[in-house]
Symmetry: C2
Subunit: 208 residues, 2 copies
């Protein structure tokens, strides 16, 4: 995966362009070098629920190494530059490439479980602050934290992640701004002190 061979082709996607369509066979995965993307489901009435967020540095979608089929569509949330990684090139030979993908898969699996907890048991405020804290933590792990942490998501995008309406997201986020927990810069959100955001989450820690 980290083979610096430079043989893997770079792909560019514009915002709203699809990296994959639900049902399609996949013969590659992507590593996002720049930009954000997501997996989502569209309801018949047009509402959208995002089921996974892909940040710069993430591999999208690691499970294709197992199933070779996109269950859901993947779309770019910003302009994206991605490295194309053919599955054939790593599936033969029990490479470290495979185990890296498997690790990423399990990480996503556990993240989904966590997100079920958020959606099931947290208030709007808790879900949004939890999302910002998660994003910061993941960017940090990917080595992509500029100071401070910036989030190029639309409030509509955020709403589709946290399962709320954009109107209500706006009210919650505005309140966070009033408290100084986030700042706005144009349409991107800035989290100046991620550690404080983390403490905002209502009733979330661990046990049992």
């Amino acid at each position: 995966m980290k083979s610096g061979l430079g043989k893997e082709p770079l792909r560019r996607f514009r915002r709203h362009e699809h990296l994959a369509l639900g049902g399609e066979a996949q013969d590659r995965v992507y590593r996002l070098d720049e930009g954000w993307a997501c997996r989502y489901t569209l309801l018949p009435d047009g509402r959208r629920q995002i089921t996974a967020l892909y940040l710069p540095g993430d591999v999208c979608e690691p499970q294709w190494v197992i199933s070779s089929k996109a269950e859901l569509s993947i779309v770019a949330l910003t302009d994206v530059i991605a490295t194309e990684i053919p599955l054939g090139s790593i599936r033969n030979a029990s490479d470290e490439g495979v185990s890296e993908l498997i690790d990423a898969l399990m990480t996503n699996f556990n993240r989904q479980s966590d997100w079920i907890v958020s959606l099931g048991r947290r208030s709007a405020n808790g879900r949004i602050t939890a999302l910002f804290a998660e994003i910061y933590s993941r960017l940090q792990q990917n080595g992509r934290v500029r100071q401070p942490c910036t989030i190029p998501l639309t409030q509509q995008d955020i709403a589709d992640v946290v399962g709320l309406t954009p109107v209500h997201v706006n009210r919650v986020v505005s309140e966070l701004r009033r408290q100084g927990l986030v700042q706005f810069s144009g349409k991107t959100i800035i989290v100046p002190r991620p550690d404080e955001i983390d403490r905002q989450q209502d009733g979330m820690g661990l046990a049992g």
Copy 2:
């Protein structure tokens, strides 16, 4: 996995007994021969969110074949009889056992994505009917449908799956009973016509 060798030991768990504790190393998986179990997270204030349901016939937790560690606790929701399947016995030799577990893992992964959609975008009524429909469908796939489909879950358990309070679950379920979509038999719920329940779900299908 289906080796009828009879060498695998049977394990019994009483209701509320743990099959695994979060953080524990695991050297086996379980196939549930009888009874129901779940994976869950406990919040600091005592509320619980169930992140996976295990039905008779299911393997619990297939991802242990990869990670060998329980991220979250697993508890029996009813009395359980399970077959213990040592991981060592199938990890060497690229058995069909492994690929069966991998398949189950991917099924659970996709089910979690679907559940995120439910929690994020469905009403109480939609979540509960979706849950019943999912349960019926899974029991059928596992070859465990007696006529009719019975669900031995407490309303509190259901609440912890769908992310609602038991009080509100009671109101919704009572309304479903009034409409004849479910029946009660003591504390267990019966779904006489699962196909009709399926049509109750508000705004759920596919697209995009």
